[in-house]
Amino acid sequence: MDETPGRSRLMLTCEVNGERVATEVEARVTLLDLLRDRLRLTGTKKGCNEGACGTCTVLVDGRRMNSCLTLAVQCNGRKVTTIEGVGAAETLHPVQQAFIAHDALQCGYCTPGQILSAIACIAEGHATDPDTVREWMSGNICRCSAYPQITAAVLDAAGRMEGQGLA
């Protein structure tokens, strides 16, 4: 068994938004706390911290996951994508463009998680019609209740990405 001597501090090597990260981390630190507190990537939000709200959603090896339900050490050797790794100020990602175009947010706290979840939802092939989008985006709660606009934005972005050969 691979077990680091000492008590609970381990070496973690992974890739976050294309950059190599090598750091010592306690076993109990979640991916969410690693991102926010250690790497200062505060775009990923902490909402419920128990897997109920989805605002901490990130991509791990391209698949969406709740970073609050993932230990950082479970990401050893993996590639993590957060909202900071999506688009750029001048060249927004099609999902970001669609969220703006459809006014798919009010307070914005859930938006980073919604965007990451939407990117995965589209890549999985689940952005086909409003009912399917609602079901496959149901892991992301929006307390401002922008759901109709979010659904429209995801469908619009899926169409744009398909047109650009991105989906």
């Binding site: 068994m1 691979d2 077990e3 680091t4 008590r7 609970s8 381990l10 306690e26 076993a27 109990r28 979640t30 911290n49 128990e50 897997g51 989805g54 959603t57 698949r63 969406r64 996951m65 709740n66 609050c68 339900l69 993932t70 230990l71 050490v73 479970q74 979840s117 995965a120 939802c121 999985e124 689940h126 609602r134 079901e135 496959w136 149901s138 892991g139 992301n140």
Partner: protein
Amino acid sequence: MHDFSYAAARSLEDAFAADGAASMPIAGGTELLNWLRLGIAAPERVIDLAGVAGLNAIAIDADGLSIGALATLGEVGEHPQVRAHAAALAQACLAAASPQIRNRATLGGNLLQKTRCAYFRAEAPLPWGCNKRLAGSGCAAIEGFNDRHAIFGWTEQCVAVQPSDPLVALAALEAEVTIAGAAGVRSLPVAELHLTQAEAAAEGLDPARAETRLAPGEVITGYRAPLRPGARSAYVKVRERASYEYALVSAAAVIELDAGVISRAAIALGSVAQKPWRLAEAEARLVGLAPTRDSVLPVLRGGFGEARPLSQNRYKIAMAAGAAARAIVEAAA
């Protein structure tokens, strides 16, 4: 979260060191991390099973369907062969949790999740009694909010239900669970993996805390389900919102039809007991009936003679019978 150490298992034998107390196994972690936050578990060490090779395969052969314990709910739910040959299981997996949780949660861990009883899922130290959390402290639910609790198999010590969706489908499919430990490999029917509180008491175990037949150091390695020719199945989950919510009740039906009538039926109910609840007598009386709601509902309602509803959950009897009827109708469709 309290401090603990971390070890990555490289073989199944490494996993046997996880005794479920000082050393907890972790796979997806979607359930364990919340136990650690609430103080439901306080291990000195977690043992990560993710690196154990060969435990995530999904395959169909002459003996039926086999699924490794590390297959995720998303992988099982979207697997074309599972959807084609064990529809109830695919539907149950995709009705569970959210897409992002299903990308982490494994079929092995899912069956070992604990009840959603709000008195149980509170941060330590608890301000009320819960015999599951602290032996002898009482059960706040039995005289409190118990609308989500058991109608079968409970005792005065505990009225919790087991909330897993895939468990209900696997029970109706008459799957076996494969368990490995230092003493060797064994299997048992999935429907017998969990204990009701009354069953635990009858075996001299703690009725509130003994929930499964797993021994310390044993791990679930996978499941095997026979696939009977002509069998068709469906899973129905009734909940307070359309998605991303635990069941009030659920039902899985696996039926075979001959000349338009039911020739064999297996029905399992979820969230009515601390184990999937089979309606054995009703199943026998379904044979010969047309798979329509009007035809099967009276027989299914007759299967609740042993039910002992609590002060707030009598509704579960009618709701579970109705869910089972819908599962039969959807399986036949």
